[in-house]
């Protein structure tokens, strides 16, 4: 069990990276009216076969050959389902994978979203050659970060893995989240 949802996101998005994705989109939508928090991670990686999809939420299934357990997806699924939410994973070989988790926003068992800025700066900084989109929307107001836009500003002079850039990404997300009514 992860103490905050942003850690689940980091873990799930690492799967996208390993699937060879060149673009991974992470979208967080908070909707107070319907009492729902929705987190979607979608990528254009290698996708999964039907057999893999069927087993992906089984903790004793993993594509690794080094050991027999894989807890990332089961953790994320459990975190959603204990709040009365839903979890789904859709994938097509050669096209990509979309993981979607819906949480009961005010449910007492819902873990806090946590440090999404830390998750995104780690993801981007540790994988500077691929692209990420992060969007956060709370009751109609939101913002989006697109590394392709950042890359254009930085040119060839500075990598997204530069510690100064990673620090900037973190504060970019933190400050814009505050402007959209804060985190949940």
């Amino acid at each position: 069990m992860m103490p905050e949802l942003s850690l689940n996101v980091l873990d799930i998005a690492e799967n996208s990276v390993r699937a060879g994705a060149t673009l991974t989109e992470i979208r967080v939508i908070v909707d107070t009216a319907s009492d729902r928090l929705t987190i979607t991670v979608s990528d254009n990686g290698c996708g999964m076969s039907q057999e893999q999809i069927e087993h992906v939420t089984d903790p004793f299934f993993t594509t690794r050959t080094t050991r027999k357990v894989g807890l990332g997806v089961p953790f994320f699924k459990m975190a959603a389902e204990i709040t009365g939410g839903e979890f789904s994973i859709k994938s097509k070989l050669g096209e990509g994978t979309t993981t979607s988790a819906v949480f009961g926003l005010s449910n007492i068992d819902r873990m806090p979203l946590g440090d999404m800025a830390g998750t995104m700066s780690s993801l981007i900084g540790m994988n500077p050659d691929i692209d990420f989109i992060y969007s956060y929307e709370r009751d109609g107001t939101g913002f989006e970060l697109d590394t392709r836009e950042f890359r254009e500003i930085l040119g060839d002079d500075v990598s997204l893995s530069d510690p100064g850039v990673m620090t900037y990404i973190k504060s970019y997300i933190d400050e814009n989240t505050e402007e959209c009514g804060g985190t949940v």
């Binding site: 850690l7 080094t66 998750t119 700066s121 780690s122 500003i153 930085l154 530069d162 100064g164």
Partner: protein, 122 residues
């Protein structure tokens, strides 16, 4: 909205510093384990602490990267430090505070923080 102008300023700053950098193989590598086990045990704040310290102290010859599960999940967060020409040092059960000490003692002053290493733990 936070301004993107700050990002452009980072580029200008980096351009000015480009001559001071060494791009060779002589960089020290800091590798943080970031699989499910590492993340659950608190690897992200450890990684963030290394980045923050490296940024604060403007360490140009240090490269911070991540890896998957190293196979010693019960000792996570695990950090490996590769100084060129020296034996690899494995730090275990790391925290952000310990990371800051590893930066000052090991990366800057060349003194391995023995009390955090796997040899001391086991």
């Amino acid at each position: 909205m936070k301004s993107l102008a700050e990002l452009a300023a980072l580029r200008e700053k980096a351009k000015a510093e480009v001559n001071l950098r060494n791009n060779g193989e002589d960089k020290t590598r800091v590798v943080v384990g970031m699989a499910t086990c590492g993340i659950a045990a608190g690897a992200r704040p450890v990684l963030a602490a290394f980045i923050e310290e490296a940024n604060k102290r403007q360490l140009k010859n240090v490269m911070i990267t991540q890896t998957g599960c190293i196979g010693i999940c019960k000792l996570e967060p695990v950090v490996e430090v590769y100084v060129p020409g020296q034996e690899k040092v494995t730090y275990v059960k790391m925290t952000a505070e310990k990371a800051a000490k590893v930066v000052t003692d090991h990366l800057i002053n060349g003194q391995v923080v023995t009390e955090y290493t796997i040899g001391t733990e086991q």
